[in-house]
């Protein structure tokens, strides 16, 4: 796609404050359990017991802020039986709540956990890339809320040329399934997707 909007995330400077997550939740007044943007804490390593002293051994952790990746290959759109999910000319993937039947099939298909069921409206919802703001030339709420300036948006090709082509760091999946419109500057301890030695440290209720 010549024209594809994309998220940029700088994992090397994210401090895990969740301002992005809360800005999103606030703007869309999302109900309990629905988080279009989520911040994962990922870490690993262990402790060695040497001469009666606990010593950290390769202990690491870093944060990954993630939302819908508005993928080049949006499996959610392909599998939706109701044709409720569409991809705009600018690459933004949207769910039409009037067409959604609430079967949650897209939830099974998306490796980013982006489509989430709204128990109040009984249909699937997900990150809209703040298409309303973007249509006015503004940036999404999460991007503007980021205190460390580690979230941004841009044209996918431009972002790749500027920051490189990393999309797969733990706990995110590899990009092979959906080809996400995502560009990441990895944290220095980042582990490649599928080869992680650590685990998600966030409480399940948080993400």
């Amino acid at each position: 796609m010549a024209n594809q909007k994309a998220f940029y995330f700088d994992a090397s400077s994210c401090i895990g404050c969740k301002a992005c997550q809360n800005a999103c939740k606030d703007k869309y007044d999302l109900p309990l359990g629905v988080r279009w943007r989520r911040v994962f804490e990922y870490g690993g390593g262990n402790w060695l017991y040497i001469d009666g002293v606990e010593t950290p051994n390769n202990v690491f952790k870093y944060f990954v802020s993630t939302a819908c990746q508005h993928c080049a290959n949006p499996v959610c759109r392909d599998v939706c039986p109701a044709a409720a999910i569409t991809k705009r000319a600018d690459g933004i993937v949207l769910i039409d709540p009037d067409k959604c039947i609430g079967c949650r099939y897209c939830q099974w298909a998306c490796p980013y956990g982006a489509p989430q069921f709204n128990e109040e409206t009984k249909v699937m919802t997900k990150c809209t890339f703040c298409s309303d703001l973007q249509d006015q030339g503004l940036k999404p709420a999460c991007v503007d809320a980021c205190v460390m300036r580690c979230l941004d948006i841009g044209d996918y090709e431009d972002l790749r040329n500027k920051y490189g082509s990393v999309v797969g760091i733990e706990p995110l999946p590899t990009g092979n399934i959906t080809h996400p419109s995502l560009v990441i500057t990895p944290h220095k301890h980042a582990e490649p997707s599928g080869q992680g030695t650590g685990s998600i440290l966030s409480l399940p209720e948080e993400v």
Partner: protein, 306 residues
């Protein structure tokens, strides 16, 4: 397990059982016609066919219960181009309509035999496409526990195993009914029922053998495939291990041990009462085993990613 999972378990099990039943009825009717003529064959299978109508209806009603917005359910066939779920519903509705029409025409003997035969064939063939579509619904790249050759193999095994044993139970019920009504067809029907049950017993043993062979190969291949796959296998052998063991034992007892007794008792006349009890028991035990298998299917899938 939430209500939504139970809706899908009910839907997939009942619809698969119905597809298998249509095939078993077709084969039984065909063989019975060759031996005793169309009238005796109809007497064997017509009531069993009619019993399928509420089963299919219940399956589709259950499928609606997992939707957040069932009023939009008609939209479920609007993405046939790329969604296997759309295709599943499409072929499912065709199957239900063909099966209902066939059951009605066959029951009231409306229209020429050839027309009814054609409709029955269409329903049976569409049923195979339906079970194939159902399998593909789950073969998502992000779901290693489902994205396996074992999904279609086990769905088809369930289809024919439950179809065979459900119809076995229906045939003995039909025979008991005919006896109560003192119908003058007892001897031919008795021979037909025993012959059919022997074939059903053989099919059950073969299919449960297939299931038991597939299981360890499946677990090994999924465990070795990815971290999410390994997590699924750990659930199946750890937290849900007791359910898996129970499911295997019940399948072995119902479709193995009971099927062999069924075969032996169907060899000669005079054991009809025993035969009936065995056929009912085998069906109920295997139904529970297959439902448990489907419970595990929905309980132990771990998605790749977050």
């Amino acid at each position: 397990m939430n209500a939504r999972d139970w809706a899908l378990i009910t839907f997939t099990i009942l619809v698969q059982m119905s597809v298998g039943s249509i095939w078993v009825l077709g084969v039984a009717h065909f063989l019975a016609t060759r031996k005793y003529g169309a009238e005796e064959a109809d007497r064997l299978s017509d009531r069993a066919l009619l019993a399928l109508v509420p089963v299919i209806a219940l399956g589709f009603i259950a499928s609606l219960l997992h939707l957040g917005n069932p009023f939009n359910a008609y939209r479920a066939v609007t993405n046939l181009g790329s969604s296997w779920l759309s295709r599943e519903i499409f072929f499912g509705v065709i199957f239900a309509v063909l099966a209902f029409v066939f059951a009605l025409l066959q029951w009231r003997k409306i229209g020429p035999t050839i027309l009814r035969t054609v409709i029955a064939w269409l329903a049976a063939l569409d049923g195979l496409v339906l079970v194939f579509s159902m399998s593909n619904v789950y073969m998502l790249q992000a779901q290693p526990a489902w994205n396996s050759w074992a999904t279609p193999v086990s769905f088809f095994a369930t289809t024919f195993l439950l179809g065979a044993l459900a119809m076995g139970a229906a045939f003995v019920a039909n025979y008991a009914y005919l006896q109560r009504k003192k119908a003058d067809c007892a001897e031919a029907q008795c021979t037909l029922m025993r012959g059919t049950l022997r074939w059903i017993a053989v099919a059950a043993v073969v299919l449960v053998g297939l299931e038991l062979v597939v299981l360890p190969i499946y677990l090994a291949s999924v465990a070795g495939g990815s971290a999410a796959g390994l997590a699924s296998v750990k659930l199946l052998t750890g937290l849900f291990g007791w359910l898996l063991v129970l499911r295997v034992i019940l399948a072995f007892v119902g479709a193995g041990v009971f099927a062999i007794f069924l075969y032996q008792n169907a060899m000669s006349a005079g054991h009809e009462k025993m035969l009936g009890n065995l056929a009912y028991a085998a069906f109920v035990i295997v139904l529970v085993a297959e439902v448990l298998g489907r419970v595990l299917f929905y309980a132990a899938h771990v998605r790749i990613g977050i």
